[in-house]
């Protein structure tokens, strides 16, 4: 079992108090599984991604635990996490296009990074060049400065570099949102390629674009306002969602073929709640058509058969 997250809580400290961005999430990612993590802005998906690899300044690990391949990850303690970073767990960040040091040649930066992690660069150089070839980049790219590459190329370099040590879990955070349609497809394919070549054991793909996940992910986890709403195999989530939020979300997405004249789609009224003092119980209550007083109590995230889990009283 690659990743097991148990009731993880991560808050942001701000002037106005704690923003409870991640308020108790429990899920697992099996070996070889690519899990998509989707939700609207502010639902906590990026916080979840960051908390597994590196809590930045204002984030605080409040509760719950994370296990990777049976080992507990000390996510609260940055020094201790260094041992796991890059080796066991790695990331392709949202800002992948500006993640390479602008004043250093890519090869030299990679060498210094790898050797700073106690690995001789010579031992991985051929693998590095071979894998760059796999994503369509010549090894001469290592002699270039980041500025000389296109956005898509820089992203692929980061993908190869981040997975060079065959981590068991790769976190890919919004890596397609800044790309054009044509390059999006190429990056999505190379992402799946990483798992198929067993360069990574499992993957967490974070995005707000459900249609990308449909192509890439085995399973999809939907988050809403710091809580988990529903998790199921990708096609089940897309074609037969059962949680009211997922259903409304999917139905509001105009995908090629649907036209205003024939079928008028509807958005979800209202706005996600502020996570400074989140409402009690189910946080979708205010916008949910099925809500009643039972929803005042937070629904547990339960298994409803063949890998389908959700948190809603109204769905048995």
């Amino acid at each position: 079992m690659t990743l097991r997250v148990d009731d993880l809580k991560v808050y942001y400290t701000t002037l106005a108090g704690d923003v409870r961005a991640l308020d108790g999430v429990t899920f697992e990612i099996a070996d070889g599984e690519i899990m998509g993590l989707a939700g609207e802005s502010g639902c906590g998906k990026t916080t979840l991604g960051n908390s597994l690899i590196r809590l930045d300044g204002r984030m605080r690990h409040v509760g719950g635990s994370v296990e990777l391949d049976g080992q507990v990850l000390p996510i609260g303690d940055s020094e201790a996490m260094d041992r796991h970073r890059f080796h066991d767990i790695s990331v392709v960040p949202q800002y992948a296009m500006s993640a390479l040091n602008p004043t250093r040649k890519i090869g030299r930066m990679s060498r210094e990074l790898i050797e700073s992690r106690g690995i001789r660069y010579a031992s991985v150089k051929d693998v590095y060049e071979m894998r760059l070839g796999l994503v369509g980049l010549r090894e001469s790219v290592l002699d270039l400065y980041p500025m000389e590459l296109s956005g898509g190329m820089k992203q692929r370099v980061v993908m190869v570099l981040s997975t060079l040590l065959d981590p068991s879990l790769l976190i890919a955070d919004e890596i397609t949102s800044a790309l054009d349609v044509s390059t999006q497809k190429a990056v999505a394919e190379s992402l799946v390629g990483l798992r198929d070549h067993a360069f990574v054991k499992s993957m967490l793909v974070i995005t707000h674009d459900l249609s990308i996940l449909h192509e890439v992910a085995d399973t999809i986890l939907i988050m809403y306002a710091g809580h988990l709403a529903e998790k199921a195999p990708a096609d089940v989530i897309i074609d037969r969602p059962r949680h009211p939020y997922t259903k409304l979300l999917i139905s509001s997405l105009p995908e090629v073929g649907v036209r205003f004249e024939d079928k008028r789609l509807a958005g979800i009224p209202g706005r996600p709640p502020s996570l400074l003092d989140p409402p009690a119980g189910c946080r979708f209550r205010a916008r949910c058509p099925l809500a009643d007083e039972q929803c005042l109590e937070q629904p547990p995230f339960v298994d409803v058969g063949e890998g389908h889990q959700l948190a809603c009283w109204k769905v048995s």
Partner: protein
């Protein structure tokens, strides 16, 4: 289509976010509090001081080389001038040069910066060239030569000369800030509503930079004071009256150093350091408020 008269929406002018944040930090961040205290007390000394004694700074009022005493708080010079009165008038001169010189440099810097930043194109290139030329030329040397030739030198003349040479870096900074704001959509929206260039700069861009402009003025004020002190020290200060730089010049000229008359040369330098130093420190405090990235929560 006449809808019911809408209640005049007059929420109290509570600019919630920024004011609360400013007060929160001003209280906690002693940098701003302390520096404000220092500057205001020096300003009070500069205003009230001259009235404490009925004689002028250059008058010979007592025995020379007196150490500070109850009668002469800061002692006397070699010739018996009261150092305290010199210091107090010198402070006034320093504030004057800082405000006028710094203010003039700020005005020129803003004009050049806003026009170059907003207009772009040829005007931007010409103004940028001018800015860079003035920036690269050691303007202090130019000032020294210019002021050497002007025999009737007053504080106003010195402040104006400083104002005309100290503006370039401010122009560069404001130009960069204006260019980033110009590309924001609300400027396009204003243009779409037929708002003219001048009104866009004054109504849309400048208010957004109000905190930045204040920081720029604070730094220009400090620079003006330092430049004036250097000019006065090298003998090019105002021909009549006194300034802190001139005091230091006289002290060195009449070997106060060798004679150990510390009360003659310590106060003027200290005055400048306190004013300019607390301005810089306040600038840091304010910068942290307006620029969250530097803020250490």
């Amino acid at each position: 289509m006449h809808a019911p008269a809408v209640p005049e929406v007059s929420l109290p002018r509570r600019r919630i976010g920024r004011v609360r944040e400013f007060l929160y930090f001003a209280r906690r961040d002693r940098k701003i509090f302390v520096s404000l205290l220092i500057i205001s007390s020096l300003a009070v000394v500069a205003l009230v001081g001259p009235f404490l004694r009925d004689y002028g700074p250059n008058e010979y009022v007592g025995p020379g080389m007196q150490a500070p005493s109850s009668e002469y708080w800061f002692g006397t010079t070699t010739f018996g001038q009261d150092v305290f009165v010199q210091f107090v008038h010198g402070l006034g001169a320093t504030f004057f040069v800082g405000i006028v010189g710094g203010g003039l440099a700020a005005v020129i810097g803003m004009t050049v910066g806003f026009v170059a930043g907003y207009r772009g194109g040829l005007i931007d290139e010409v103004l940028n060239m001018l800015t860079n030329v003035v920036l690269v030329i050691p303007t202090l040397m130019v000032l020294i030569v210019v002021v050497a030739y002007v025999n009737a030198r007053g504080l106003l003349v010195e402040a104006i000369f400083i104002g005309f040479t100290a503006w370039p870096w401010a122009a560069r900074a404001i130009r960069a800030q204006t260019m980033s704001l110009r590309s924001r959509d609300f400027v396009d929206l204003a243009r779409l509503t037929g708002v003219g260039t001048r009104r866009i700069i004054s109504g849309e861009i400048a208010p957004n930079m109000s905190s930045y402009l204040m920081l720029t003025f604070i730094l220009l004020f400090g620079n003006a004071v330092l430049i004036a002190a250097t000019l006065d020290f090298i003998g090019l200060g105002p021909t009549e009256g006194i300034s802190l730089g001139l005091m230091m010049n006289n002290a060195v000229l009449w070997s106060a150093l060798q004679l150990g008359m510390w009360w003659w040369f310590i106060p003027p330098g200290l005055g400048i350091v306190l004013i300019v130093g607390s301005l810089y420190v306040m600038n840091v405090g304010l910068d942290q408020i307006f620029n969250p990235r530097l803020r250490k929560l």
